[in-house]
Symmetry: C2
Subunit: 142 residues, 2 copies
Amino acid sequence: MAGQLPIVDHTGMTVMPFATCLSRLRATPVGRVAFAQNGDIEVLPVNYQMLDTAVVFRTAEGSKLGAALQGKAVAFEIDEFDLTRRAGWSVLLQGRADLVADETTLRALDSIGLAPWPAGIARPEWVLIHADTVSGRCTSNW
Amino acid sequence: MAGQLPIVDHTGMTVMPFATCLSRLRATPVGRVAFAQNGDIEVLPVNYQMLDTAVVFRTAEGSKLGAALQGKAVAFEIDEFDLTRRAGWSVLLQGRADLVADETTLRALDSIGLAPWPAGIARPEWVLIHADTVSGRCTSNW
């Protein structure tokens, strides 16, 4: 059987399979959390890990970010570009954010040992983004 | 007079001056447009240019993106990371998006010659994001 033709969306980008999106999410160390707050859109880079199909990252106790994200629709985006070839890909995970309160999940999270980059500020809390949808696109020359 | 101490925000990141944010926006070829749509948050990488302090990029005629962005609060984010040093910076421009209809502005935009990366789909329309705020942060070791 011949290989499947790539699926191209209305913008001319090739649609990436779910498995590829997930493996890129697992292999990428930094992504961007985007959410609406007081009528504005916020976008914040974080270093993160995947826990199954959820994005997890640390935040400071009582942080504005944690409170702002609680229960809210958020997006998490990763991407990569090659300027010379004018090529690139991106993956978008959309879902809901929650501050983790469950002790079992917290122990699992503390054991993965994710350390935030900015030093000197304790970040004992964890934000978890449950994925509702995961989608990815790449240029045809990637 | 001694040099100024860097300003550090509540997350331990160093606040970047406006002039630095603007020069990074002018030097970076790809950024991410984030906006709310039907209760979800969308994040979409685009190659772009700056027109004074506005972000401009191309989109297809009658595109969903153009219609979705029209008059809406959007954010535009750029960043850079060095995984080895666990260092990075990001700039966030927040403002409103508009499809450009004014003939004079369109001529100015067409003359800057920005070509979208995905080939084969015409993108005769321009989206312009007027900046309301521009802010940037970096790790102390950047």
